[in-house]
């Protein structure tokens, strides 16, 4: 076994092991162990990224059991990109949570509510393990199990936010579980026809199938289920309360990477597990239409918020739309030659990866302000920027990424999406991208501008108190996200090379 293969296994199993271990430890030790594990996971990501950069596809067959019963881990391009992004977000958020324990929620001690929740650490490490397993899984069964691990830990992570977070958490649980049940039903149907769960074997078995009805039915179930978990427009209403009621250290994880896990599973099913089935394009057009609606409606709803965290959450709803706008273009490639499809695919992944970093930064900043000022009402936050120039600078950099201005992955993604749209003569995509960009400029300005206004902060308000050293460190976390948003914009070409490794075409 090479070190890269070992890393594949370690990426999924090390955080899980650490999650179990942290359960047994007292709170301060949990923080130290959490930071250590985060650094180790980032360390294990490096060899996988390295081998994919050199064009190699690393596979690991756990325990030597082969498909269809064994567990296959595949470190391909899609996995490498999301592993990298998740490690970046994970390490920074872990550091933030360790420095500012206040951001990990609230729990009831013997007498009163205490800020900081020891349950954050095992849950977050368990969630991270599930995320890595989703990216690396080579079969539908493990995709289901790890997606479920991500979903359940994410619900519990929302719930550590204290009383106000319990109802949003329960609502999230209902939708997440209903979504994964539909996914399970779809996977079961596929397995009943093909007799295997391995992605490649499923595809080759389905290629031989004459009747397209059953794969189409399975794909519809899978798509509807996963669209619930990604929060595509008509199924988006759980996202806003859950992501805004979650503790400050949890919202960036949820909006940044947890919904990407469902997106990765959706891509695996559409592009890897199923061949081009007649009738699939209708489903793709439906997703595209819902994506357009999400971009427009999500942005307008974001404009109407008067609190910062819900505004950022609605911006997530709008950004989700872009990924689905790319779906009709993805399928074009299947019929008329690969480059078109791969352009839309690169654009989709670049948008999702850029969104993960930028949105994690913006949510960390919003949570930071909420923890510091005791509220995230924008009218109460007027002038808060005077004490936090670094934070505001970093928020601006993240906003550049969400807008898709050069240089950022958001720009690369929108550019590739638009190029693919022109190639396929789908001009409406350009209109949607332009409208979405203008609207997002409006709502981001609405969110950030009040912080910059000159305003008299009353002397007894929490925002007027001296900024502690730890809080300054917390601001650095947001700054890292901001710099990474701009910095990753330079990696657009490298991203395209990575995605070619182990791609479906």
């Amino acid at each position: 076994m090479t070190f890269t293969q070992f890393s594949l296994g370690a990426l999924a199993l090390l955080p899980l092991l650490a999650a179990a271990l942290t359960m047994l430890l007292p709170h301060p030790v949990r923080r130290a162990l959490g930071v250590l594990v985060a650094l180790l996971v980032a360390g294990f990501t490096a060899p996988v990224l390295g081998s994919v950069t050199s064009g190699e596809l690393t596979e690991l067959v756990l325990g030597g059991f082969d498909a269809p019963l064994g567990i296959h881990l595949r470190g391909d391009g899609l996995a490498a990109v999301f592993l990298g992004v998740t490690s970046l977000v994970g390490v920074v958020v872990t550091g933030y949570a360790a420095v500012l324990p206040k951001s990990t929620g609230a729990h009831l001690s013997a007498t009163s509510w205490v800020t900081s929740h020891p349950g954050f650490w095992p849950l977050w490490l368990g969630c991270w393990s599930g995320l890595n397993a989703v990216y690396l899984s080579g079969d539908l069964f493990n995709l289901y199990v790890s997606l479920e691990l991500v979903g359940l830990t994410a619900v519990a992570l929302v719930a550590v936010g204290g009383q106000s977070a319990w109802e949003p958490a329960l609502r999230y649980l209902f939708i997440a579980v209903l979504g994964s049940l539909m996914f399970l039903a779809g996977v079961g149907l596929l397995a009943a026809v093909t007799g295997t769960l391995d992605l490649h074997q499923t595809r080759s078995q389905l290629d031989e199938l004459e009747d397209p009805t059953l794969p189409l039915l399975a794909l519809t179930l899978i798509t509807v289920g996963l669209a619930m978990k990604v929060a595509l427009l008509p199924m988006h209403r759980w996202l806003v309360p859950a992501h805004s009621a979650a503790p400050s250290a949890v919202s960036p994880i949820l909006s940044g990477v947890v919904i990407k896990a469902a997106l990765v599973v959706l891509l695996r099913c559409w592009l890897w597990a199923l061949p081009a089935v007649p009738g699939m394009q209708w489903l793709a057009w439906l997703l595209g239409g819902l994506g357009v609606a999400a971009v427009l409606v999500g942005s307008v709803l974001a404009l109407r918020q008067d609190r910062l965290k819900p505004l950022v959450a609605y911006s997530t709803v709008a950004q989700i739309g872009y990924w689905f706008v790319a779906f009709p273009l993805l399928l074009h490639g299947e019929h008329d030659g690969a480059p078109l499809g791969s352009g839309a695919y690169n654009g989709l992944v670049a948008l999702a990866a850029g969104h993960a970093i930028a949105k994690a930064g913006l949510f960390t900043a919003a949570g930071f302000l909420k923890d510091r000022c005791g509220t995230d009402k924008m009218s109460a936050l007027r002038g808060a920027g005077a004490h936090h120039p670094v934070l505001i600078l970093a928020m601006g950099m993240c906003a550049v990424g969400l807008l898709g201005l050069p240089i950022s992955l958001g720009f690369t993604g929108k550019w590739q999406l638009a190029t693919a749209a022109v190639g396929a003569e789908q001009w409406w995509v350009l209109l949607v991208v332009a409208a979405g960009t203008l609207l997002s400029a409006a709502y981001l300005l609405r969110g950030i501008a009040p912080l910059l206004l000159q305003a008299e902060v009353p002397e007894n308000a929490p925002a007027a108190g001296p900024v502690r050293g730890r809080e300054r460190l917390g601001e650095i976390a947001v700054l890292i996200f901001g710099v990474a948003t701009i910095g990753t914009g330079l990696l657009g070409a490298w991203l395209g090379d990575l995605l070619e490794v182990g791609a479906w075409w």
């Binding site: 958490a169 209902f174 209903l178 049940l181 397995a191 009943a192 007799g195």
Partner: protein, 101 residues
Amino acid sequence: MVSVDTISWYLLVSTVMIIFGTVRLLLVRDLLARLIALDVTGIGVLLALVALAARSESSDPVLQALVITGLVIAVAFTGLGAVLIRRIEGLREDGGGGDRS
């Protein structure tokens, strides 16, 4: 050998369970009733998988593995949901005090 008719029957039952469970989940307001509706939907899905697994002479191990995992996950989400519901209802009853467990 299980006859095809028995399997169609079970598939029909499971479809009805899934539909009833989903509709109830989306329409009802009572939290406990919603959790149980979700369980009914879950059992419906698992029943469909068991029925599909039983089509051949020796039942399909892959589908059975899916069902067993599905059961474990159903226990997990029911537990998590029950804890959350107890806390929320405790909160409503004593007006903001919350449940301590």
